[in-house]
């Protein structure tokens, strides 16, 4: 497979997951600000923007939910906002058009075409629509993609993004404390609330909730589950394994992080949650870099400028 195509597939996986997760985070956030009479809107919004790598300057006038929605939901120029990542996913599918199944392409293309009309609706309706589109993409991938490297690259992107975004989601709560949306709301945003309640029979604590999102081995949006999935995809891409050590830097970064989480005591993880979550994000970035370096090396950029000729 061409590196360029592989890179596009990887990014389709990441962008769609990014749009999905951002919609979930924002939905919780907007709802929390509306519902909670004690919410401190400016602080909560600044914190969220910072966690999503979109910090508001200290001088920015009023930072409120509209600012957050503008920057993280509707900004078409920024591939980290919902609209931006859906557009970027579609662009990547276009570049890999001959590999991506027609169903998937049409789905991403339709998503782009109908984006403006849905973006005009209320925030919750827009977020629901985004989640629905992401689910359609996931379903089409699942049912119409051969399990060759096409599949593995998309899943790899999806899993890395998911681990990264779940870590950011957890950071929002860890940073805001009682001013945050609360662990239950977080679980709900991941579609994990009911699974979690059943697991702990309702008698659950905040610590269990955080633990569930980080460590649960069976829930597909937990960090550990996502890291496992990413590692699995990497192993499928490079099945030959030496007798000792791991030669793949991406796998190393993810594996070290996963082991750290899996083998830590929950209590220890929770005492410094924001830092731990930051390390998860750094590990994902590092893995992403290693994957790029290995599978989609950039062309040595030769600058053909007039003088050189």
């Amino acid at each position: 497979m061409l590196s360029r195509i592989a890179e596009s597939l990887f990014w389709i996986g990441r962008y769609v997951e990014r749009a999905d997760d951002t919609a979930r985070i924002l939905d919780v956030h907007v709802q929390m600000l509306s519902e909670d009479p004690w919410a401190d809107e400016a602080t909560a919004c600044r914190s969220l923007l910072a966690i999503m790598d979109h910090p508001a300057g200290p001088g920015d006038r009023e930072v409120n939910r509209d600012t957050v929605l503008r920057l993280l939901a509707h900004d078409r120029e920024n591939p980290s906002s919902i609209a931006g990542s859906l557009l970027a996913a579609r662009e990547n599918a276009r570049r890999a058009r001959e590999i991506v199944s027609t169903d998937l392409w049409e789905c991403l293309n339709t998503t782009r075409n109908t984006l403006p009309s849905h973006a005009r609706r209320g925030p919750h309706e827009f977020f629901s629509w985004v989640r629905e589109r992401a689910a359609v993409v996931a379903g089409l991938m699942e049912s119409a993609t051969p399990r060759d490297s096409t599949w593995h690259f998309m899943v790899l992107g999806q899993a890395i993004e998911r681990a990264d975004m779940t870590a950011r989601l957890i950071t929002t709560q860890a940073r805001l404390g009682t001013g945050g949306p609360g662990w239950n709301t977080l679980l709900r945003s991941c579609g994990a609330y009911e699974a979690y309640l059943r697991t702990y029979r309702g008698r659950a604590s905040d610590a269990d909730a955080a633990g569930f999102l980080i460590l649960d081995r069976l829930f597909p949006r937990s960090i550990v589950y996502a890291l496992h999935a990413a590692e699995r995809a990497l192993r499928e891409l490079e099945p030959v394994e030496g007798r000792h050590a791991v030669s793949d830097d991406a796998r190393r970064a993810l594996g070290i992080m996963r082991s750290e989480l899996e083998f830590a005591r929950l209590g220890d993880l929770l005492t410094d949650l924001p830092d731990t979550m930051e390390r998860v994000q750094v590990a994902c970035t590092r893995a992403s870099g290693a994957i790029k370096h290995r599978y989609f090396p950039a062309v040595a950029t030769t600058a053909w400028v007039e003088e050189a000729l």
């Binding site: 970027a88 709560q173 309640l197 970035t285 950029t301």
Partner: protein
């Protein structure tokens, strides 16, 4: 400027939004202000969104074979903190008195001996269950969940209309109304501090766990439903989901050796607390109706042995009896030595000959109700009834005076409601919910506001064309955030809120705009030699 409140008529009833002079009450200022800015189309489209969301969630009722969403009005009902403090106190007091009354009725019957309530009253109640006298409720709690129906009279005074301590329903609407409103009208909440209702499931679970039989360290709680065809099934499944417990039907449970078990894929599992939403007479075919398929044979025996807790307790219906209702203010004075915080609606007891004579004389101006009815069944509103209806109910009263009470027509308070493209006053009631965990009676801030959608209609039950409203109890300013002590275990560490530096997010370098532009340029000017190639952006 015209808005959707234009021509909002003031009537005889107390209006929640406007006072007698037509001035806006302060608690409605925000809501009114936001809503006047909307056009009929905008409100209608939000109302549609609410309806769609209920249809999708399955919050529906069956109307002539078609699923209709349970109507949720777009205008919330707003209650001031001060009013709410009284309501909550009154509801707590009422629940404490009813607990004491039930404990007495199924025990020494001291209130009867002291002449507070007549012996006849108890024995003639169709909901008095002798068997309940043999069951010792764990922790002394019989009314784990209560719903006390309130109305507001012409003077704005809250009065109790009826007590529901059997299987009060409707709390699921409180929870889902709030969720739907937050999603559909986020801006309405604006700067208002509306007290949250999401704590309810945790409170309920804590109360249920606390009511487990002694010596069970980690009790198994289940919700018992009559099944999917029950009209409140949505509520049963929602509660089970939010409690994180099993939703069981009668056939999922069995008793053996005086204990209750449920059938699971991992074998039998013991059940310690049953939050039952099945009425007394259906709950155990051995003890009650032998033809019941909804119950569990031997359940009552297990409860008698103290091996399982039924919540709410058996036999609570006697406290719901509308004739007993007329004695509740006396019961409050007798058991609690307090004056009632919330008054009753004036009521005639029709077994008293004088009262009966007066009522039979004035049937066309009074409301008569069967004492054991619920859901608005059998109520006849004199001024709105036909001659034939009145005659029919008159003969039934003469036949069975114990079975009926009469009340004056209370002009229930009205609140603005979106009807036919404008906001119009419609009659409301309020059902606050209280959870008793044995040490404290907690009242959910809010409760279910039901609204009668047809103009002038005074019966608000959903079975009679009623809808509901989200009920907002406003928080007085500067109150600290209350902490729900669910677990004292270690909470994840939190940090002071200095805006953190985020970890940078990667993007595909190919998505950098310059590259795209360049490719487009190439198409347009094929002959031109390519200019600077772009470097990759940081990944």
């Amino acid at each position: 400027m015209t808005d959707l409140f234009d021509g909002y008529p003031l009537q005889q009833a107390f209006d929640e939004m406007l006072d007698r002079d037509g001035t806006l009450r302060s608690c409605y200022e925000q809501v009114h202000g936001r809503l006047t800015g909307l056009t009929a189309d905008e409100v209608a489209s939000r109302a549609d969104a609410l309806a769609r969301s209920y249809l999708a969630q399955g919050v529906t009722f069956d109307f002539a074979g078609e699923e209709r969403p349970f109507p949720l009005d777009v205008v919330p009902r707003v209650i001031e903190q001060d009013d709410w403090t009284d309501i909550a106190l009154g509801v707590q007091q009422r629940v404490r008195a009813l607990e004491a009354f039930l404990d007495d009725v199924y025990g020494p019957q001291q209130a009867v001996k002291d002449g507070v309530v007549p012996q006849r009253l108890i024995q003639s109640s169709s909901d008095f269950q002798r068997v309940a006298a043999s069951i010792q409720p764990a922790g002394g709690v019989r009314c784990h969940v209560s719903g006390i129906d309130l109305v507001r009279d012409e003077a704005g005074q809250y009065r109790v209309l009826e007590d529901n301590v059997r299987v009060p329903s409707g709390v699921s609407y409180v929870v889902s109304n709030r969720r739907a409103m937050v999603r559909t009208f986020p801006e309405l909440f604006g700067r208002l501090r509306v007290q949250p209702v999401v704590d309810y499931p945790q409170r309920l679970l804590a109360a249920l766990v606390a009511s487990a039989p002694d010596g069970v360290p980690d009790p198994t709680v289940v919700v018992l439903t009559p099944g999917v065809y029950n009209s409140a099934y949505f509520e049963h499944s929602l509660l089970a989901r939010l409690l994180g417990v099993e939703l069981v039907e009668g056939r999922d449970l069995y008793t053996k050796g005086g204990r209750v078990y449920m059938r699971t894929t991992e074998g039998s599992r013991r059940v310690d607390v049953i939050y039952r939403r099945v009425d007394d007479e259906w709950i155990d075919p051995v003890e009650f109706r032998g033809d019941s398929m909804l119950g569990v044979p031997g359940l009552v025996n297990a409860a008698r042995l103290g091996n399982v807790t039924l919540a709410n307790a058996l036999g609570n219906g006697v406290a719901d009896d509308k004739l007993v209702y007329t004695y509740v203010p006396d019961l409050i004075r007798y058991f609690l030595a307090e004056e009632p915080v919330l008054a009753n609606v004036d009521t005639w007891r029709l077994e008293e000959p004088d009262a009966r004579a007066e009522v039979l004389d004035r049937m066309d101006e009074l409301v008569v109700k069967p004492v054991d009815g619920s859901g608005g069944k059998g109520i006849v509103v004199g001024p709105q009834a036909t001659r034939a209806e009145i005659d029919a109910v008159r003969s039934r009263i003469v036949e069975d005076p114990r079975g009926w009470i009469a009340q004056p027509v209370v002009q229930l308070s009205t609140g603005p409601t979106f009807v036919d493209g404008a906001f119009r006053p419609r009659h409301l009631d309020l059902r606050p919910f209280a959870v008793n965990d044995g040490s404290d009676v907690w009242v959910l801030p809010g409760g279910l506001t039901r609204v009668a959608l047809p103009e002038g209609q005074l019966v608000v039950n959903s079975s009679q064309g009623g809808g509901s409203k989200d009920t907002w109890v406003l928080e007085s300013d500067a109150g600290p955030r209350p902490v729900v002590a669910v677990s004292a275990e270690s909470r994840p560490a939190t940090r002071p809120t200095t805006p953190p530096a985020g970890v940078p997010r990667a993007t595909n370098p190919d998505d950098v705009a310059a590259n795209q532009q360049q490719q487009q340029q190439q198409q347009q000017q094929v002959s031109t030699s390519s200019t600077t190639a772009t470097g990759g952006a940081a990944c």
